[in-house]
């Protein structure tokens, strides 16, 4: 599991390798058989009917009962998953070696890989206030490569407008599926929630990963500083020591608000710091995936 630590993964350059390493590492460490079991699940037995393929007869039952019973398997759900990755400039923030965008990119890549392994079709939308790139969900190795390549080429740019971006992307999502959002949600909280609710109203399952750098909450500065907004380039002089408490309180209220409102609307809200291992996100995903099934 130690390979899943962000600082180790960060050292690997190729995103596909990273994703593979992370996913395989996670799965092998977690429960190897669950992967196989999830692909084709046994559902029930039914009497043989003419026309049924002989290979589907359960010969062991026949030996016990002298009757032909057909094993029925549940087909793979063929889930449509949409990875929504925020690439606004605020996502470029990093207090240590890994930025929020890099962390989110890894997660998105890993989820793409994981979903592919699970025979789910995966699409991706990378968005900021002014534009977005969208790849509709497909299940193919080529598509997976395309997704990974798109993620790899994308750099943080532009400002954040979650409502506008998600509304635009929501229009593109024709079939309901699982929507996984990676964002720092630095926007008006009501707009954010409105955007999430819109997605949820279309019967989508929504899984939100609220990605933050630890220093964004801790404000670990020991002197007055001039902070520059990565998105607007606006500057402001402040003494973090004086406002830290109040600032953290407001963030805490915000997280609680998101959590409360998301629960109320059956949205999975997950708060993640960029120094946390990736497995945390995977556990949340698997939990969600299980529920969808």
């Amino acid at each position: 599991m130690k390979y899943l630590l962000p600082e180790i993964i960060h050292k690997i350059k190729r995103l596909d390798l990273k994703a593979k390493l992370v996913v395989e590492g996670f799965l092998s460490g977690f429960h190897k058989s669950s992967y196989k079991g999830q692909a084709i699940e046994f559902a029930d037995y039914r009497p043989y009917l003419p026309g049924d393929e002989l290979k589907r007869i359960d010969w062991k039952i026949f030996a016990k009962t002298d009757k032909f019973w057909i094993r029925e398997y549940e087909e793979e759900t063929n889930l449509r998953a949409y990875l929504l990755l925020d690439n606004s400039c605020s996502m470029a923030y990093k207090s240590k070696e890994i930025s929020k965008f890099e962390y989110s990119s890894f997660l998105a890549a890993c989820f793409a890989y994981l979903l592919f392994k699970q025979h789910d079709s995966v699409g991706i939308a990378i968005f900021n206030k002014n534009n977005y790139q969208y790849l509709p969900p497909q299940f193919s190795k080529f598509h997976l490569s395309k997704i990974l390549e798109t993620i790899e080429k994308t750099k943080p740019e532009g400002e954040t407008d979650i409502l506008r971006s998600l509304t635009e992307i929501g229009k593109k999502i024709k079939k309901r599926g699982l929507i996984i959002i990676f964002s720092d949600l630095f926007d008006n909280k009501d707009n954010v929630l409105k955007a999430l609710k819109n997605l949820r109203h279309k019967k989508n399952e929504v899984l939100v990963f609220h990605i933050l750098d630890p220093n964004e909450v801790n404000l670990d500065y020991n002197e007055p500083i001039i902070v520059r907004d990565l998105e607007t380039k606006r500057e402001m002089m402040l003494d973090p020591r004086k406002i830290k408490k109040e600032y953290q309180e407001s963030l805490r209220n915000l997280f609680l608000y998101y959590k409360r409102e998301c629960i109320a609307h059956y949205i999975d809200y997950n708060f993640i710091f960029t120094n946390w291992p990736f497995e945390y996100a995977f556990f949340n995903y698997l939990e969600k995936r299980a529920r969808i099934k």
Binding site: P224, I226, V227, Y247
Partner: protein, 622 residues
């Protein structure tokens, strides 16, 4: 708005200090990229939002304002009253006008000089354009002559400065006694300087613009001198005068070349003498320094410069023809322990070296032969001092080679001393009654040439004369029984002591501004170092000696003539601000109303500065 101390504006660049510090502080701050200010801005009570920025700007403005207000306060701004009583007294027609502004240092009091300048400007501005104006300062500087008012630049008046020179107001007015016009005298009407106005008559109309104050406060140094050295210690005596009616606490400081003494004195109203001891030996060298009191009313009388030279032994020779002539002197000198006194008959005069004596009493010589005359003139050339006491033995013919003598007055009845120079050192501290007491039966009727009468009798015969080089004093009466009853009177001892003291202190190092300094130098040219610059001064011959006369003392301070140092001080009498009580006459008008030409508003700026300071404190606390 005008300013009493416009030089304070040299500090004006300081107003950029808060701005510089503000930007230095900003540049020093670390710049940090942050994901979004969205939540920082959203905080309500934050110190860094718009209000915070506004507060920073407000601080900047307040600090700049604070410094500006302080500088304004230092510059002592004042507002000028537009209409003044002077306009009522100005002539409507074109006239010849003489304007005299008192620039003596007493005008420093309550900014009278600045007020006077403003009045002068106002008069010039409001005179008929065809008038002709002459402007004088009482230090006798004529700054404008017969000029149209419109041609007189404001800056000329603005740049006028107080003078420490003596006042020539009386001379100026007397010079123009027959002037057919109007004279305006802007003055504080000090009794000390203007008492002559009580009996002054002239053809012109004199209008006095009176800036003096009935109630004033001032104290100053009246006199300062070193007391005779005792046990190798030096004592100073300072005479202070407190013109106000209340006790004052005055810090006083002595600055010397290698000592600095500070004291706090309680100064009661009136004159008070204080003695101080210098706690160290000063040796043989000449010490220069000053005594200063900390007092704000008038600067001119607050400082006294001095030059101190260790006393030389003062030896006196009493030369006589008849021993009975000196009996009184012997009796008197027997109690004088401080001097080396020798007695010598005139016939033995060639046996001694006269130059070894500092002072020669020549008592009742009957004649002065050629040899004695050479000896005496040589002695005088070498700075020797002679006190000549004439008497009945005088043989006129022989004596006339030096000065013309008439016969001895032997009148019927007696003579009494009737007039004397009260300000002369010899008569200072002697009361009139004492001086008038002795009876004189005989006096030598001396026709004086190059001699100044210091005291004379009731029939105008001279009693005491002094030559112009100040090295010779002549008493016209021998102090013997048959000439006068003086030896039995209280006047005799102090008079003789004072004459000796006079010569003892005659090699003086301390002068007043306006006094002509005469010094003997055996070179053709000497360098003079003054507080306001250096001169080269040519010497001239006087009675076979190379002398210099120096009368260009403008500022108090230490002046140096080659190796000789002297101190020059202001006339301390000027510090007495007592006003002259003067009645108006036909040709004398006094504008008595207190002319509040300007209102100083510096305290207002100080108040604002304090207010600004409070606002800043308040903003810092919230």
């Amino acid at each position: 708005m005008n300013f009493f101390v416009p030089n304070s504006f040299y500090f004006l660049p300081l107003i950029f200090l808060p701005l510089i510090l503000h930007f230095l502080f900003r540049f020093r701050l670390k710049r940090v990229d942050f994901s979004s200010l969205y939540f920082l801005v959203a905080l309500k009570k934050e110190r860094f939002n718009f209000f915070y920025q506004l507060r920073e700007v407000l601080f900047l403005i307040l600090r700049t304002l604070f410094i500006t207000l302080l500088i304004l306060n230092l510059s002592r701004p004042y507002l000028i009253k537009k209409k003044s009583p002077i306009l009522k007294i100005l002539p409507q027609k074109a006239k010849s006008i003489i304007l005299i502004l008192d620039d003596s240092y007493s005008m420093q009091y309550k900014n009278n000089f600045e007020k006077g300048k403003e009045i002068l400007k106002e008069i010039i501005k409001n005179l008929h354009p065809n008038s002709r104006v002459t402007i004088f300062l009482t230090s006798k500087k004529k700054i404008i002559e017969n000029e149209k008012p419109i041609n007189i630049p404001d800056t000329l008046i603005k740049n006028l400065k107080i003078s420490y020179d003596i006042s020539y107001a009386q001379k100026i007015l007397e010079e123009f006694k027959n002037f057919n016009g109007e004279i305006y005298l802007i003055t504080d009407l000090q009794e000390y300087s203007y008492s002559f106005l009580k009996d002054f008559h002239s053809s012109f109309l004199l209008k006095i613009i009176d800036l003096g104050k009935e109630n004033f406060e001032n104290c100053g140094i009246m006199d300062f001198h070193f007391l005779p050295e005792r046990e190798e210690k030096i004592y100073l005596q300072i005479k202070l005068i407190n013109y106000s009616q209340k006790e004052l606490e005055i810090p006083i400081t002595f600055y010397g070349e290698d000592f600095n003494l500070k004291n706090f004195l309680i100064l009661p109203p009136g004159i008070k003498k204080f003695n101080f001891e210098i706690p160290k030996k000063l040796g043989e060298k000449v010490i220069t320094g000053k005594v200063e009191i900390e007092e704000k009313n008038l600067e001119g009388d607050n400082t006294y410069y001095f030059v101190y030279e260790k006393e030389k032994k003062f030896s006196i020779l009493v030369a006589y023809e008849n021993e009975e002539d000196i009996l009184y002197f012997k009796k008197l000198f027997s109690v004088m322990g401080n001097y080396q006194i020798d007695y010598l008959p005139l016939k033995e005069f060639n046996k001694i070296l006269l130059s070894s004596y500092s002072l020669l009493f020549l008592v009742n010589p009957s004649q002065i032969d050629q040899f004695l005359k050479w000896q005496l003139s040589d002695y005088l050339k070498k700075e020797g001092k002679i006190i000549l006491i004439l008497g009945k033995c005088l043989k006129e013919n022989k004596f006339n080679e030096i000065f013309e003598t008439l016969k001895v007055w032997e009148g019927k009845g007696v003579l009494r001393i009737d007039k004397w120079e009260e300000n002369h050192f010899i008569f200072q501290d002697l009361k009139g009654k004492v001086i008038k007491e002795p009876k004189f039966y005989r006096v030598v009727n001396l026709k004086w040439k190059n001699l100044k009468i210091l005291a004379s009798f009731n029939n105008n015969l001279p009693f005491l004369l002094e030559d112009t080089s100040n090295n010779l004093l002549i008493f016209t009466s021998n102090f013997s029984d048959d000439f006068t009853d003086m030896p039995t009177k209280i006047l005799f001892p102090p008079l003789i002591f004072k004459t000796i003291e006079y010569y003892k202190t005659k090699t003086k190092n301390n002068f007043f501004i306006g006094e002509t300094i005469k010094l003997n130098f055996d070179v053709s040219q000497i360098k003079v170092i003054t507080p306001f610059g250096n001169f080269l001064k040519e010497t001239y011959f006087e009675k076979g000696l190379r002398m210099i006369k120096f009368a260009e003392t403008k500022e108090p301070g230490i002046y140096q003539f080659e190796n000789k140092k002297i101190s020059v001080n202001t006339n301390k009498e000027e510090g007495n601000l007592k006003k002259l009580n003067l009645e108006e006459k036909d040709n004398l008008k006094i504008i008595k109303d207190e002319i509040k030409m300007e209102y100083e508003i510096s305290s207002l700026f100080l108040f604002f500065a304090f207010f600004v300071f409070l606002i800043e404190i308040f903003l810092l606390l919230i």
